[in-house]
């Protein structure tokens, strides 16, 4: 039992160090307006908005990769790092919205609300953020214990978050950069690994609809 505990701690420690220092370095560069080699950060605002959004998406993909990896390589301890990664997804999503409001919209409340109301691609993003916050709050052990089997039901919505986030990303760019397609391929693969579970879940949803 001792060994997995040690692995979990090291993994978490490395992840914290990496993600937090990456965030600090990125925002530091944007704040001073030049990168570490002294070159201009051309558009510091877009720089931090893209960073927080893309890192959030990447960590989400990583989070969803953990259970297939743990199963495939019989490394059950990996599952115990998953909550931390999931919470980082919510952290970057909040940072993303905050950066957009603070730096793109110059912290104007009316403009922020107007954008929330007017832009369908922002609705998707906000829906994803709301779900992520719900998942974060219910990740507290006490709440989780109280929820019983409903906890897993709620947390299955993470697959919807994945789809919403990708569509939000694709919708926000001009034309079709290669990047969006690469991410689509990863999203599809992550869903495909779980196709049995997802189909079962969808059927259950339909049944519930009929009953109600």
């Amino acid at each position: 039992m001792k060994k997995p505990q040690y692995k979990i701690r090291v993994t978490k420690c490395v992840a914290h160090l990496f993600l937090l220092s990456l965030t600090v370095i990125t925002y530091y560069q944007a704040i001073i307006g030049t990168d570490l080699t002294g070159q201009y950060i051309n558009d510091p605002v877009k720089f931090v908005i893209h960073f927080s959004g893309m890192t959030g998406l990447q960590v989400l993909l990583l989070t969803l990769l953990i259970s297939p990896l743990a199963q495939k390589f019989k490394q059950a301890w990996l599952m115990q790092t998953r909550r931390m990664f999931g919470l980082y997804v919510a952290f970057f999503a909040c940072l993303h919205v905050f950066s957009f409001w603070l730096f793109e919209l110059n912290f104007q409340v009316d403009l922020f609300i107007e954008e929330l109301v007017k832009r369908p691609y922002i609705w998707l993003g906000m829906l994803a953020l709301t779900l992520l916050l719900a998942l974060s709050v219910t990740s507290i052990n006490k709440i989780r214990a109280k929820m019983g089997p409903n906890w897993q039901k709620l947390h299955n919505w993470v697959y919807l978050v994945l789809v919403l986030v990708w569509v939000h990303f694709y919708w926000s760019v001009k034309a079709t950069p290669t990047e969006t397609l690469i991410y689509l391929a990863i999203v599809i693969s992550l869903l495909a690994i779980r196709h049995k579970k997802l189909l079962k879940g969808l059927k259950a949803l339909k049944r519930n609809e009929k009953i109600s």
């Binding site: 704040i31 001073i32 051309n42 558009d43 510091p44 793109e104 926000s172 034309a175 079709t176 290669t178």
Partner: protein, 335 residues
């Protein structure tokens, strides 16, 4: 840093060798090096690096020759730093990220160049590379540039009023529009070679103006920037600048200007007609479907907390010179 001193009496190789032979020789040497590296590497980005390894830095620097021009009056707003103007570019022919085009600086062959001016006119003609800089008196024009993505710059262009070029062609009465076309050369433009690298838009890039817009004194064919000839990423050797319209109207690396009688197709309108219209006049009252156009961020040298947020002006502040051309039009409909 190595500082090579040359006295004025020294003759360099490019002075004793005719320029075109000198350049060809360079090209052969470079392509030899490239072939060798190509055997080891594959993939586009690696190719780009392979070329830059063999790029002669001095040649690249001196390639941007200084221009002689009539200076503009001092501008009331601060100029965007040159380093920013030359490294923050939308030029999908060289990749979709704004930092991509700079990687190809100096790698587009601009000499020889041929710009065809033709269509519904009495005097169609061609301009070669030298003509672009010598046939017309060059003027400096300091203009605001407003991107449809809601950022903006202030740029000191050097160029030729488009009206001068069109007048020389002597358009006939049927010529109602002007169509522009960018160079199509996939072997030098990776975005044209691969759908993925080019963001999936159609190439060659095409743009258009109404003839009165083209003849407006503000409309410029730019051949230079900050007093030097244009670098690749800014649309070398000749590009359009229409300061009261969103940046995507200002087509780069033009090879054809054609006088036509119907509204010509335009690239971004073909790609997403509900988002990008033919006119694309800067208009704070007409939102892009995905974002507001009411304000813009002026890109300067500052960081996150020293951003310059300014309200966007109708026609990008050039209403006095251009609004009369649209006085009977519903600008929300003709966006």
């Amino acid at each position: 840093m190595l500082i090579k001193k040359t006295s004025t009496s020294d003759i360099s190789e490019n002075e004793v060798t005719p320029e075109n032979i000198y350049k060809d020789r360079r090209k052969i040497i470079k392509s030899l090096g490239f072939l060798g590296a190509g055997a080891l590497l594959s993939g586009q980005s690696q190719q780009a690096h392979a070329i830059s390894w063999f790029k002669d830095k001095d040649e690249e620097k001196s390639a941007l020759k200084a221009l002689k021009y009539q200076a503009d009056e001092p501008f009331t707003e601060a100029l965007t730093p040159e380093a920013k103007i030359t490294s923050h570019n939308n030029f999908y022919e060289f990749g979709t990220r704004k930092t991509d085009p700079k990687q190809y600086e100096g790698m587009l062959t601009v000499n020889p160049w041929q710009l065809n001016v033709d269509g519904l006119c009495a005097n169609p003609f061609k301009l070669n590379y030298e003509d672009l800089f010598s046939k017309y008196p060059l003027q400096e024009r300091i203009y605001r540039m407003r991107c449809v993505e809601a950022w903006s710059m202030v740029i000191p262009w050097v160029g030729i009023p488009l009206a001068d070029v069109i007048k020389q062609a002597q358009p006939n009465g049927q010529a109602k529009f002007v169509a522009f076309e960018t160079l199509y050369r996939p072997e030098e433009m990776p975005g044209q070679k691969s759908r993925f690298a080019g963001g999936g838009i159609q190439y060659p890039y095409v743009e258009g103006l109404r003839i009165d817009e083209a003849m407006n004194p503000l409309t410029l064919l730019a051949v230079g920037l900050y007093g030097k000839e244009l670098p690749t990423q800014n649309g070398a050797p000749i590009r359009l600048v229409v300061p009261w319209k969103y940046g995507f109207k200002s087509i780069k690396s033009i090879t054809r200007i054609k006088l036509v009688n119907q509204k010509p197709p335009t690239t971004w309108n073909l790609s997403a007609p509900q988002e990008y219209g033919f006119y694309a006049n800067v208009n704070p009252k007409v939102d892009h479907p995905r974002w507001s156009q009411a304000q813009e961020r002026r890109l300067g040298s500052g960081g996150l907390f020293s951003q310059n947020y300014i309200p966007t002006l109708p026609f990008n502040g050039y209403g006095e010179q251009v609004a009369h051309m649209y006085k009977d039009m519903d600008l929300a409909k003709f966006y």
